[in-house]
Structure formats: C-alpha cells, structure tokens
Symmetry: C2
Subunit: 266 residues, 2 copies
C-alpha cells in the first residue's frame, strides 16, 4: 500500500487539485484508492461531491477516537473512497495540544489498513500549514509529494518544508521520503516557470545523498494552468469527469501514469 501525503505549507499551490485528480486518475486505472481530506476547509471532500454535515463521520471523529477510518470511509467513485473533513477539524490543533502521542493518532488508526493492504493508494490532502494535522500525515505515510507553483518564492517555502520533513524522518518516522515534486499552475512558455524549474533541479542536485529528499523525482508531466481545473470543484467532479479532453485532464492522467511507473522500482 502506497501512502502519500500531498503537502506544501504555502497556500493555493495545487494541493487539493492534485490530491483529488491524482486519486481519481489512479482509481480510473484500476487501483484501489482512498483520498483522505485533512483540511478543515473540506475542499477535497467538496471536490468529490461530499459536504460533511454534523451527522456525517469525518476524519475529526477518527482523531478524537470516536470512530474508525473504516466507519468514516465513503465510496465516491469506482475504486475511489473518501475520508471526509469539515470545519470540526479546526479544533484538532487546540484539542490535541500537549496530548501524549498526538503525532501518531492517524498512523495508529491506519495500522490495520497497512497490514491488510486495504488500498493500493492512500492520498492525503494536507492543509496549508506545518501543524499537528500535517505532522500526523507525515508520521502515517511513506511518501511525500510536493505540489509547487513555479513562481519566485517557491524555493524559499520548499526549504522550510524539507526542514520539517527531515525533522519528522529523524525523530518520528524513519520510512518517510519525499518521492515526488509536482509542477502545478505551470504557465508554459514563460521564462519564470522555466527558470524556477531549473533552480529547483539544481537545488535537488546539490542535496546530500542522505537527506529524505535525495531521490525526489520532479515529475516530467507539468500541470498547466487551465480554467477547467478551477471550475471542476463547483460541480463536485474530478477533472476526468468534468472535462475529459481538457489539458487539465491530460496533465493529471500523465502525472498518474508517472506515479504508476514508480511501482516497478518499489
């Protein structure tokens, strides 16, 4: 079972768009996928047609140990399940503060899924912060995918992100690796996108071999800016359902193909 945290503390860089569309594309290819919404804004849930009202079990109830992941799981498409989130999750940071073992609640809740190989892929949409929700994702997964908008300050945020990942790898989860970087909101033909992508490559090449991002692959498929990707959430559909011939669908299918190709080496 591959477990992937889609994270970047910078806001609006494509975490949710990538989590949802990658999960949907992998499910389309026949993999058993569970999309997990870890953002109190509940955007990933909304994006697949789910608005979690007060009676619906959510990932918050898993954190407070009032329910299990299996009970919170909903089927949202063929081969595609969702663990929804809503604004209740905003309380988690405060409620878990100081609690012993608070970094591992999600990992513990997922343990039986790993043992039973319950899914082929678990994809976690992280909120734009490095707080307790993101830390729970990082201790629960083996892989991190980082969506990056190739704009000027992208690499400044990346350093901070890598720092946090290194800390978690050293102290809380020895299996954690940054395995993929997804270029999102890519403005083709602009020098800025090309320059930042080049800077990113050099940054990675200069990294030590023993860092958790040493073997991070920059996916060749760049997700180009496409208004269809911004429209899809309002219809509660993945881009593959909403606009199957759009460049957004083409790009996320190509990204999914690269993600599947990694399996051979695992």
């Amino acid at each position: 079972m591959r477990s992937i945290a889609v994270m970047n503390q910078k806001g609006g860089v494509g975490k949710t768009t990538s989590s949802v569309n990658l999960a949907a594309a992998l499910a389309r290819e026949g993999r058993r996928v569970c999309l997990m919404d870890l953002d109190p804004q509940g955007h990933a849930s909304f994006h697949v047609g789910v608005e979690a009202g007060p009676d619906m079990p959510t990932v918050y109830d898993v954190f407070t140990q009032q329910t299990t992941l299996d009970h919170a799981r909903q089927l949202v498409g063929e081969n595609l399940s969702l663990i929804p989130a809503n604004i209740d999750l905003a309380a988690t940071e405060v409620e878990l503060a100081g609690t012993q073992g608070r970094e591992f609640f999600l990992r513990n809740a997922m343990q039986h899924w790993k043992e039973q190989n319950r899914f082929d892929y678990v994809v976690m949409d992280c909120p734009p912060s490095l707080g307790i929700l993101t830390i729970n994702a990082l201790t629960a997964v083996n892989e991190v995918f980082i969506p990056l908008q190739p704009h000027f300050f992208a690499l400044q945020g990346l350093s901070k992100l890598f720092e946090t990942t290194a800390l978690v790898t050293r102290r809380l989860n020895r299996d954690l690796r940054v395995t993929g970087i997804m270029m999102c909101l890519y403005e083709s033909g602009t020098r800025l996108a090309a320059d930042v992508t080049e800077d990113l490559k050099q940054f990675l090449n200069a990294s030590d071999g023993d860092t958790p991002w040493a073997s991070a692959k920059i996916f060749k498929s760049k997700v180009r800016r496409n208004i269809k990707l911004a429209e899809a959430p309002s219809f509660g559909q993945s881009i593959m359902d909403y606009a199957p011939t759009s460049s957004g669908a083409v790009d996320y299918l190509a990204l999914a193909a690269e993600v599947l190709a990694m399996e051979a080496a695992m």
Copy 2:
C-alpha cells in the same frame, strides 16, 4: 492618514502583490506612503528590494518594543517608505501569547504617526492567517482591503474573514471598516471569474447595513493575470518600475486611482 490592512487568510491570493504595487502607485501620485511588512516570509520587503538581515531593525523589534517605527523605517523609493519584516517575526505568535494588551502593540507604536499625520497612507501586508499579527493590523488601522481571487472557494474564505473583522470591530477597534475588495489574479473572459464576481456582489448586497463591510466597495479595476507581476519581485521592483506598459501596471495604477477617488468622500 489612511491606514489600510491588506488581508485575506487564504494563501496566494495577491496580498503582497497588491500591497506593494498599490503603495508604489500611490507614492507615484505624490502621496506619502509607508508600506509595512507583517509577514515573517518578508515577501513585501523583498519585493521592494530589501532583505532584512540580523542587524537591520524590523517590525519584530517594534513588537518586542526594542525599537520604534521611526527607527525601523527605510526609504525605498520617492515618497515610499518601508517597515521591513523577516523570519524573526515568526516568533511573535508564541512570544506574545498571554501577554496583556498584545492586540494593541502596533496601534500603540503608530499612535504618534496618526497624531502628526506622518503619512498619507500606511499599507500593511498581512500574512495568510488570522493570528496575532493580523489582529494587530486590524486594531491599528481604519480600513481593510481584501484581495480576492475569483475562484470557487473565494466566498467561503470571505465569510470567515468578515466574522473576524466583526469581532475586532465590536471588541477592539470601533473605527474598523472593510472599505475595499480587490479582484486579483482575474482571468478575463472566463465564466468562473464572472460568476464568482457576481456571487460576491449579491453577497454584499444581502449584508446588513450595520456590518463593518456594509459599504465595502468592489473596485472596478480588476487586476488581470499577468506574468510580469510574478516576475517583478525577483528584481526587487514594483510593477510600475519593472514593466510600466504591462497590463499589471495599468491595472494597479487604475486601482490606485480608485483608491485616491475615495478621499473625496472621507
């Protein structure tokens, strides 16, 4: 002296780009402007050519009462001053926790500027959060400008923002009003941008007359997506200096003209 907090807790919606370019455009029109960087990322500072190293006084030193705003102020252009920020500011949230009167440190530091009409405009670039830094901006200013990207979830974030503003107005700063909403990263010709803008108008029209956003004006000038705006920060220049004939420069100059036109009614 008009004091304006440029705020939106959502990341990457144009706060910094708007703070910097609006401040620069107003200065270009002869107004005495002070741009204040309230984000530990220091993007506004970088955007006007300032990288605050350990020896440079920053807004953090003002919060810790080790220096005054006058001492931290740097001239960065004709009629344009800056109060810089750097990563030190990240400590403020933790350091001020529980301190009596922590919501008013900035207001107190600015009091003499108001009395002396030291500037025509103070423009504050807020971080993407509703924490103590943003609260300090809200208690220190009379006006809030909200940059908004017309994408699907924009209004969800706006409700939360208005809630916070209402709370501050009721309890901490009776003079606070949301006076402007700036449409940023506007993709002309798309239905999504038109639909969200229309939803926003209806949302405001439906608001009670006694809310702090009742008279919020949606600026007619929309800031269109323009790669030049994303390139300018890397040169430490406003868009007016970097690419004076670009649509980015045209749009921010038009926005500044609307902001100046508000003076007549104040």
